[in-house]
Symmetry: C2
Subunit: 351 residues, 2 copies
C-alpha cells in the first residue's frame, strides 16, 4: 500500500462501533521490546541503528508476509505524511520527529502498527474501536509470539523484558483506553474522576498520548505499572475496576444533564452544529470541541442531523495533515482554518 | 388604539430605510417643557400632579384630535405593557417606573411621543429611522407650536425654557442619533471615536439612552449643551461636524475589514447566523450582538439569507416585554431565553 491510499480510509479504531462506544472511543495496547545483543538506541551508533532497522523490517515482513501489510520507511516519508500517520495513531509524535533509520509496519485494517527504532527497538500496538481489552491483547500477543520466533528479545529472568526507559521494564505493556467524557466535563465533575484515576496509578493524557494534555472532552487512561504485575492482571484491573467506575460516572452525568438541564444540553449540541455549519474559519481544537458535543447528542438520541460515520470522518479528516493532504498542498495555520471550515460546511450542508 | 395593537407593528424608526441607515439607526429629538404657574413635579402635591396630567392630556387631545393619536394613562398600564413602551422608545425607563399621574400620547406611526409628567411636565419627542435631523426637528417644532397655543410654558427671557433639571434649561432640547458601529468595535477603534465625541461635548450612551451603558455595537450620541446655543446651531453641529466624521470612520473601518480581513468578517457574520438558527436558549444581549453582525453583513452585501425587514422585526420582538406579550404570559429570565431562541429559529428557519 502506498501511504496516500490511507487518506480515503478510516482506520478500524475510528469506526465507533465497538462495545461501549458511546464512551470508549478506542482501546489500545502496546508492547516494548528490544533485540538481545544490540544496544539500546540511545547508545547505538548510526550503523547499528541502520542494521537494526533492516533486521527488524525483514523479520516483520517475513513473519506477516501473507497478510498484505505495509512497511513505511519513515526516513523516506515526507513531513505531511508523517504527521498523517500520527493523526491516525499509527506512529507516535516522537517517532515522526526523530532522526535516523526507523519505520513502521501497518496491518491492512490499521489495527496493528509495529514501530521500528522508536524509543525501543520495537514498539508494537494493537488499537481497536470501543472497549476491546481482550481482543487487542490477543492480537498483539499473537504478533509478539510470531516475532519472538525470529528475534531473541532482551529479557531478564527476574525483571522481565528490558526496555530503554526503566518505566517500561517488566511486561513492557501499556494498556490504554481513549474515553469521551463530555458530560463529566460539562457538570464539572471531571477533575474528581481524573483524580480518582491518578490515585489508581493510571496516567491521564490527551488525544495523542504521552506529552499531550488532557484538554477538551477526550481523555486517555493508561497503566503506569509494568513491573511485578502480569499482563492479565492489568487487563483485569481495567475490566473490573477502572472502566466500570468511569463509565458509570459518565452515564450518570449524562442522565443528570438530560433530566435536569435538557435545554442547556440541547443548546450546547445545536450551537455546535450551527457553528460547524456556518463558520468560515475554524481551528482543529474548536472543531474537536464541537464534534464532541454532536457525538454526545447522537449517543443520547437528541441529535440526528448526521450519523456517526460522518462524524468520525470529520474527526479524522479535519486534522491538520489530513486536511492538507486533501487540498494537495501545505497550508499556513490560517489557510488551514479556512480550508477546514470549508470542508466541514461541505460535509454538513451537502453543498 | 389599544396598547396590544402596538405588538403586531414596527414603529417608523425601526424601518431602517432612512438616509444613512447603514450606520444611523434613528434620529431623535426631545423638548422639555413646563407649564407656567405650576410647580416642578418634584415640588408638586399629588393633587397638583393629577391636575397637571388632566390638563395636559386634554390639551394634547384637543391639539391633535384629527390625527387618531393614542393616549395611554401609564398608571393604568400593566408592567409588561410599560416595558413594551420602553422597548419601542415611546417612554423612558424612568417614566415606566415612576409613580403618580402620568401618561404618554403617541402618534399613529409612533414618530411622536409626548410624555406627560415625566421629569418635566412635558417631554416631547420625534424619532425617525436613519439620519433625519431636520425632519424630526420640524415635526416636534410643529407640535411644540400647536401646544404653545394652549399652554403658557415656563420661560425666562434671558435663560429660555425653564426645566426641572438645570442641564436642560435654555432650549430644553436633546438631539440624539443612534449609531450602529460594529466595524469600529471589531477593529478596536471605537474608544478613540467615543473619546472624540466626548471632547465635542456629546454624551455617549447605550440603546436606551440615559442610564444605559454603551455596550455592544450600538451607541447613542446626544448634545449636552442646551443653554446659549439656538436649536438650529445644535442641529447644524450634528449635520456638518459630528456625523460626517463618525460615519466616515465607520465606513473606513468596514472597508478595511472587507479589504484586509474578509474571512474574519464573514466568519463573524455566519457564526452569528448559525447560532441564531440553532440556539435553544439565548439572552437578549447575545441576540442583539448577533443581529448586529447580520445587519453589518446585509449592509456590506455579504449576507443575503434574511432581509432588513425580518432583521428589524427580530430586533424589536426579541426584547423581553415584546417576547412575553407574544407568548401571552410573564416568563422567568430562563424561560424567556428559551422562548426567544424558539421565536428566532421559527423566523430564520421558516419552521
Amino acid at each position: 500500500m502506498k501511504i496516500d491510499e490511507l487518506l480515503g480510509r478510516t482506520g478500524e479504531w475510528l469506526r465507533a462501533t465497538g462495545p461501549m462506544s458511546d464512551v470508549v472511543i478506542s482501546t489500545r495496547v502496546r508492547l516494548a521490546r528490544n533485540v538481545s545483543g544490540y544496544p539500546f538506541l540511545t547508545k547505538a551508533t548510526s550503523d547499528k541503528r541502520d542494521e537494526l532497522a533492516d533486521l527488524l523490517k525483514r523479520g516483520i515482513q517475513a513473519a506477516v508476509k501473507e497478510h498484505k501489510w505495509s512497511y513505511f520507511d519513515i526516513t523516506r516519508v515526507g513531513e505531511l505524511d508523517r504527521q498523517m500517520l500520527v493523526e491516525r495513531h499509527l506512529i507516535s509524535r516522537q517517532h515522526a520527529e526523530a532522526e535516523g533509520s526507523r519505520g513502521v509496519s501497518v496491518s491492512p485494517d490499521e489495527t496493528v502498527a509495529l514501530m521500528v527504532n522508536e524509543e525501543d527497538h520495537l514498539r508494537m500496538q494493537s488499537i481497536r474501536c470501543g472497549l476491546q481489552l481482550e481482543q487487542v491483547w490477543e492480537e498483539i500477543s499473537g504478533i509478539d509470539d510470531l516475532l519472538e520466533q525470529r528475534f531473541e528479545y532482551a529479557y531478564h529472568p527476574r525483571y522481565g523484558y528490558l526496555t530503554a526507559c526503566p518505566t517500561n521494564v517488566g511486561t513492557g505493556m501499556r494498556l490504554s483506553v481513549m474515553l469521551h467524557l463530555p458530560a463529566l466535563k460539562l457538570t464539572n465533575e471531571i477533575e474528581k474522576v481524573l483524580r480518582a484515576a491518578r490515585d489508581m496509578r493510571l496516567a491521564v493524557r490527551g488525544l495523542f498520548g504521552e506529552g499531550t494534555e488532557a484538554t477538551g472532552d477526550f481523555f486517555q487512561l493508561s497503566n503506569q505499572t509494568t513491573l511485578g504485575r502480569p499482563e492479565e492482571d492489568i487487563i483485569s484491573d481495567f475490566r473490573s475496576e477502572i472502566l466500570p467506575k468511569v463509565l458509570e460516572f459518565e452515564a450518570a452525568a449524562r442522565q443528570a444533564l438530560v433530566r435536569e438541564r435538557p435545554v442547556a444540553l440541547d443548546d450546547k449540541i445545536w450551537r455546535s452544529y450551527g457553528i460547524l455549519q456556518n463558520a468560515r474559519s475554524i481551528s482543529s481544537e474548536e472543531t474537536l470541541a464541537h464534534l464532541s458535543h454532536l457525538r454526545m447528542g447522537i449517543h443520547l438520541g437528541r441529535f440526528r442531523e448526521i450519523d456517526l460515520k460522518t462524524l468520525n470522518e470529520l474527526f479524522l479528516m479535519t486534522q491538520p495533515a489530513h486536511l492538507q493532504k486533501q487540498t494537495g498542498n501545505r497550508l499556513s495555520g490560517e489557510d488551514r482554518s479556512v480550508a477546514r471550515a470549508g470542508y466541514i460546511r461541505k460535509r454538513l450542508n451537502r453543498e
